[in-house]
């Protein structure tokens, strides 16, 4: 393992982390402000990717597609909040899990009905294709570098939104005391719809950017959703800062684990078996990380006090 390879893998971990942050921030906001467990968050990720692929295919412009995908995911989020989620705030978590799981099935089959079961074609825009040379002689794909940059910008933007704006103040107030903010005359249902749409839009943006790297297909959101849940549990449910730290931690540990563990096992095992065992343990690594963190910090790293 050379230094430059290690540096490149760290960047890969960072890139995975920023993407997870986009997913996890919406999830943790919705839980923090409304107390809702939303399993259908992965469907907004898928919506963003499909609309982006479709609009990019029609207009030929990736950026128009990206904008359309993000807005479409936010709009679908607002619509779902208005039609379904609103009725769930006062129910217990089991009802929320059941209802949002039903939404996953509806979204998946609906998307299949609209677009068919073959994956859609979406590619990295020409202006971000290819790779650049970084310090330590690392050659790194430009698009992934752009994703890292975008993730950092969005993290800063979210921080400013929540700490400096009136909307952010209301979100923080909503996290602290839901009844009181309603009693003070804030239009709580509009606030909820806005927060939900914001989270859905961020998920859609994540799906759209990742769709260009991976394949745009039905069910693409659920594996990411599981990771996003791990992230918010590690970070402390309801905490944006926790989501950021948790996402970067999970991204880096997962990436380095996949690369380093097989090499570690090769020290005392036959190469082919070591690859298999290493890969198997690497796939468990983030869950082991989560378990260890929860032993010492049962409410996550940045637990929100209620």
């Amino acid at each position: 393992m050379t230094l430059s390879l290690l540096f490149e893998q760290l960047l890969n971990g960072l890139q995975l982390g920023t993407m997870l942050f986009l997913m996890a921030s919406g999830l943790t906001l919705v839980f923090g402000v409304m107390g809702l467990i939303n399993l259908a968050h992965g469907s907004f990720y898928m919506t963003g990717a499909f609309v982006t692929a479709w609009v990019t295919g029609t207009t030929g412009n990736f950026w128009v597609g990206l904008l359309a995908g993000t807005l479409a995911a936010a709009a679908v989020g607002a619509l779902v909040e208005f039609a379904v989620i609103r009725r769930l705030y006062h129910r217990d978590h089991l009802d929320q899990v059941l209802a949002t799981f039903a939404l996953i099935l509806i979204f998946s089959e609906g998307t299949r009905w609209l677009y068919g079961s073959s994956p859609l074609w979406l590619n990295v825009p020409d202006s971000l294709a290819g790779s650049v040379t970084l310090p330590f002689g690392v050659e790194y794909p430009l698009y992934r570098l752009a994703i890292i940059g975008m993730g950092i910008l969005i993290a800063i933007g979210l921080y400013l939104l929540i700490s400096r704006t009136r909307l952010g103040m209301r979100i923080r107030a909503g996290e602290n005391d839901r009844e009181m903010i309603g009693a003070l005359g804030v239009d709580i249902s509009t606030l909820y719809t806005l927060v939900f749409a914001l989270g859905a839009g961020l998920a859609g943006l994540a799906g759209a950017t990742i769709g260009a790297l991976q394949s745009v297909q039905v069910g693409m959101g659920e594996p990411v959703l599981i990771l996003a849940f791990v992230v918010i549990v590690i970070g402390g449910i309801g905490s944006i800062k926790g989501a950021l730290v948790g996402a970067l931690l999970v991204g880096v540990v997962d990436t380095l684990g996949r690369v380093l563990l097989p090499d570690v096992f090769k020290l005392f095992m036959e190469a082919s078996a070591a690859s298999g065992v290493g890969a198997a343990i690497a796939s468990m690594l983030i869950y082991i990380l989560m378990a260890i963190i929860l032993i010492f910090k049962p409410n996550g790293l940045f637990a929100v006090k209620h």
Partner: protein, 380 residues
Amino acid sequence: MKKVMNAGLGLLMATAIAAPTQAENVKIGMITTLSGGGAHLGVDARDGFMLAIEQAGRDDVEVLIQDDAQKPDVAKSLADEFVQRENVDIMTGIIWSNLAMAVIPSVVRQGTFYLSVNAGPSDLAGRLCHENYFNVAWQNNSLHEAMGEYMSTEGFENAFILAPNYPAGTDALEGFKARYTGELANEVYTQLGQTDYAAEIAQIRASGADSVFYFLPGGMGIAFMKQYAGSGVDIPVYGPAFSFDEIIIGAIGDAAIGVRNTSQWAYDLDNAANQTFVSSFREKHGRTPTLYASQGYDTARLILAALEVAHPDDKDAFREALRAADFDSVRGDFRFGTNHHPIQDIYVREIVASGDGVTNQLVGVAVEDMQDVYVDQCSM
């Protein structure tokens, strides 16, 4: 809940399978994957199969088609339904090896013929081979083995090999290593369903390998190839046709150009049966057939050829007729080994630009008269 679902399923099947039959008719039961992430394989196998049946114009051959949704338990209960209630003579259609293992051994033991359009798990070629079971596609390892041999003859000596960490993935890498003579730069198992390959691609770049072999079916392969092309690594890539069928490379786009893959069939193979098949398939469905469609087509044509000789009720005569494989396969020469698995040429295809998209083009033969390695374990 389960009871309701079972009742619903029963109703569905009762309506789907209500057509009365006469004694002389031949009933074929097809269980295949028509929904879910792996649906395009089953859809193509079905469309190829039905095309051959329609072309034959025989109205005494009845085909019942059911969707297994890629679930072994669904496939198993559909198979019981076909064998016990419908008394089908022949069964076919299963795509995935884990479903095949759940269904085929019991079906053939009950005296029904089974012809596999796709799945070729090693047990059915060796230890559990059966006189009523025929595989018209390949044994699972074949295309990987052929690629191992092809890359050796091409002079590659330091390959980086990659597959998901599950049984078919380990089989793929074992198959590859069986005939590959060079060194391995690295052997990496990824998670099943993994979609981000940045870490593996960085390893490939740093490994100093002279070639990459990978088996990543479905969405995994699309994600890998797109990211690989964007990474600036220019080590040549090889794999089996499962990673590069026409539908997958359509989703990868230009990034797939130049990749070579092994297949037992290519749509531009020059023989009369294949030309008829490809042109009529395109005319009927408006797309280029995949290898799965060719396998469905060949399976139906093998059945039709055997029906010319005997009715499946005369089991011994029908079995002999199947074994003779007296039909013009779209892949050229075709015959069965003693374990009822094909002995056939494995071809090499290269992905090239064509019109708006990309397509596979025949390059040459990787291995002539390839037979699977499990034939010795079969007691037939």
